[in-house]
């Protein structure tokens, strides 16, 4: 059985005049110790996916339907008490900005010890020892001293390591990392990613990595979901998706990277913008930007279905895979 199983998850936001669907029937699984990447641009719904897994969606947002089964228990229907037990213990989350995730008025030690005591029957001294061990695991030099420091005394990279240490404090089975290195420099990002990968592998922890950076996904994950306008449009093994993307959007996303074009040449851009959630076009949400769109695409939403090794939500994928006449526009 998979560790996490999301079925038909739909999240809506009740806005002033209308209800906006931010996530539309998302389904995926994460096996024990598996590393899954969720890729998409801003507005695709990838962060909302992360938040809803922790049941952190708050008004005006709500889970409209669907279930999130963590080890067979539905997170959506869980009581607040059970949720509190679960968060941090069975699954924990790493947020984007290390500068605001830690409480600035508590020392690192207080924050770590409090977390431990809230979930485990330990003495303060035992909790402190565990904290030191965890800090050492994330390569924090002289962890005993760090415990008595305040977050502002540490650099961004150091803070993100401490946040990872806190996320690992209770040996969770799943870590959800929402753009964990976007706020950091590339050299620091590389260190943090390597650390995260190493810890997940050695502790057999599942990882859901939410990011916009295809390079990071490629380095870190085994499987990838590509999201667009609140839907999963492509899912499969990361290598397959990076090397041989099937959905026109995924293709466009990869081709738009500067690495994919000779220096000084025009980049292969995707025209237009991601639709805002209040104004999603009928049919396939990608159709106004898609060069292969047909009348079917403009009226019917494609279901996600298996094509070869990957799952794709595209009417035209069979034709594209056949390498068929790309110019032809069926009437």
């Amino acid at each position: 059985m998979s560790l996490l199983s999301v079925r038909d998850l739909t999240v809506k936001f009740a806005m002033r005049d209308e209800t906006v669907t931010a996530l539309n029937g998302i389904s995926f699984d994460v096996a024990k110790g598996e590393r899954l990447g969720i890729v998409g641009e801003s507005g695709a719904g990838k962060s909302i996916t992360g938040f809803s897994l922790m049941n952190l969606i708050s008004r005006p947002g709500y889970v409209d339907r669907g279930e999130i089964l963590l080890d067979g228990e539905d997170v959506v229907k869980m009581s607040d008490k059970r949720l509190r037990e679960l968060r941090g213990d069975k699954m924990s989350m790493i947020f984007q900005d290390p500068m605001v995730t830690l409480n600035p008025v508590l020392t690192i030690g207080q924050q770590m010890v409090e977390t431990l005591l809230a979930h485990r029957k330990l003495s303060r001294e035992e909790a402190r020892q565990i904290s030191i061990v965890k800090l050492r695991e994330v390569y924090i030099p002289s962890p005993e001293e760090r415990l008595d420091q305040y977050p502002h005394e540490l650099s961004g990279g150091m803070r993100q390591r401490i946040i990872i240490a806190i996320a690992l404090l209770l040996d969770p089975q799943l870590i959800i990392a929402d753009e964990p290195t976007t706020a950091l420099d590339v050299t620091i990002q590389a260190d943090i990613m390597e650390l995260l990968l190493e810890l997940c592998q050695s502790n057999k922890v599942g990882l859901i990595l939410i990011t916009h950076d295809l390079g990071v996904v490629s380095q870190m994950t085994e499987r990838t979901l590509v999201m667009y306008a609140g839907r999963i449009i492509e899912a499969g093994r990361t290598r397959e998706i990076i090397n041989d993307p099937q959905h026109p959007y995924t293709q466009g996303l990869i081709n738009a990277l500067p690495q994919q074009t000779l220096p000084g040449h025009k980049l292969r851009q995707i025209p237009g913008n991601m639709p805002s959630l209040t104004n999603i076009p009928p049919g396939c949400p990608f159709n106004p930007r898609c060069e292969f769109a047909t009348d079917l695409c403009r009226t019917h939403i494609p279901e996600i279905a298996r094509y070869g090794d990957v799952e794709v939500a595209c009417h035209e994928v069979a034709r594209l895979q056949a390498g068929g006449d790309r110019q032809e526009q069926s009437a």
Binding site: E41, S42, S155, G157, M158, D185, V186, T187, I188, Q189, A190, D191, M193, E194, L197, H212, D213, L214, G215, V216, S218, Q219, M220, T238, R239, I242, G252, L253, I254, A256, L257, P258, Q259, T261, P263, G264, K266, L267, R268, Q269, I270, P271, N273, M274, S276
Partner: protein
């Protein structure tokens, strides 16, 4: 320190540029109590230290580095938004860093700037039309209303913004569209030299390509020269003619783009290049840097990179390396490169 094989014609010359920001707000704060005595000491952030760079006509010079390396400060100094602590900036042979606002006026339509955040760089209370007409009117007071409108329409078309949207306000546009409008605004005055401070880092991947293409196109059709500030090395490889790598306000390496990417010399450049996540990698694969970045408040003597460099020795901690020209034309500031310690180290 000047480049030896003099390139065709430098449009902008930056000479030994320094910028320090005082941390103490006012005289009273500089008084400190030390060892039983009152002493006066000032603390300053050394944002830019002795930077010398040339930007040649028609090229795109990319300045890369991590946060806090002073790359944005360099851009703002060249744009005249900040005044240098010392050093000189020449534009087309004329010194511009000490000009008053009135003296600078004729140059204001030659040097333009594009900013990082398209959500903040357009005045939210002005329509697109107002925002675009204002600079045209300001720099061409003799233009008739029709000429102003023609100019604005021409620029809007050239950046791919439909002129029929001119009456809208910035908040009605997406980030990518706003950045197009910001580019259009810079182009309304027909500049020669455009400083772009991280113009695409706030945008989504698919939109980045659109704006980058737009800037490349403007470079070709209008013969622009760019000073392009970024932290994204894959953009540099694509966009830059030459690259300058900055670390803690000092130049590490300046080279032709192709040379830098095929044969990086400075240890920091190497680490930086290896840290960029590549699509072909299936696991992190980079040169690990030890230690932490020192603060730019109290810079250690010697090489700014020594605390994180695997090749640092005593000389590196005592003496700041000078930039030295390499056989392949790149300029590197590193004792280890100079002494040939890297290849066998």
């Amino acid at each position: 320190m000047k480049d030896m094989n003099v390139p065709p014609s430098p449009l902008v010359e930056i000479n030994a540029l320094e910028k320090q920001f005082d941390l103490d707000q006012g005289w009273l704060e500089t008084i400190k109590f030390r060892n039983g005595r009152l002493v006066r000491e000032t603390r300053a952030v050394h944002a830019v230290n002795n930077v010398t760079l040339d930007v040649n006509k028609g090229e795109a010079l990319c300045v890369v580095g991590e946060s806090g390396c002073g790359k944005s400060t360099v851009a703002r100094l060249v744009a005249g938004l900040l005044t240098p602590t010392s050093g000189e900036i020449h534009y087309d042979g004329r010194r511009i860093d000490d000009l008053s606002r009135a003296e600078m006026q004729p140059l204001r339509n030659k040097i333009q700037m594009i900013f990082q955040n398209p959500y903040a760089s357009l005045n939210p209370r002005m329509t697109i039309l107002q925002a675009l007409e204002e600079p045209v009117r300001h720099h061409n007071p003799a233009y008739s209303a029709a000429e102003v409108r023609d100019k604005v329409t021409e620029v809007m078309m050239s950046v791919g913004v439909d002129p029929s949207w001119a009456k809208r306000y910035p908040h009605e546009f997406s980030g990518g569209q706003r950045q197009r409008i910001a580019v259009a605004r810079a182009l309304t005055v027909d500049p020669e030299f455009v400083i772009a401070d991280e113009p695409i880092s706030a945008l989504d991947v698919s939109i980045q390509a659109q704006v980058l293409n737009l800037m490349l196109e403007a470079k070709e059709s209008r013969g622009l020269t760019y000073l392009f500030i970024t932290h994204d090395l894959s953009v540099v490889e694509h966009f830059g003619t030459r690259v300058a790598v900055l670390y803690l306000g000092s130049v590490c390496e300046v080279a032709e783009t192709a040379t830098l990417f095929s044969n990086p010399k400075h240890p920091y450049t190497r680490a930086l290049l290896s840290a960029v996540p590549q699509l072909k990698d299936d696991r992190p694969n980079h040169i690990r840097l030890k230690g932490e970045i020192p603060t730019p408040i109290n810079l250690p003597p010697g090489c700014p990179f020594q605390s994180r460099c695997a090749f640092a020795n005593n000389r590196c901690s005592a003496e700041k390396p000078k930039t030295v020209q390499q056989p392949d034309g790149s300029v590197v500031a590193c004792h280890a490169v100079e002494e040939g310690r890297l290849e066998d180290g």
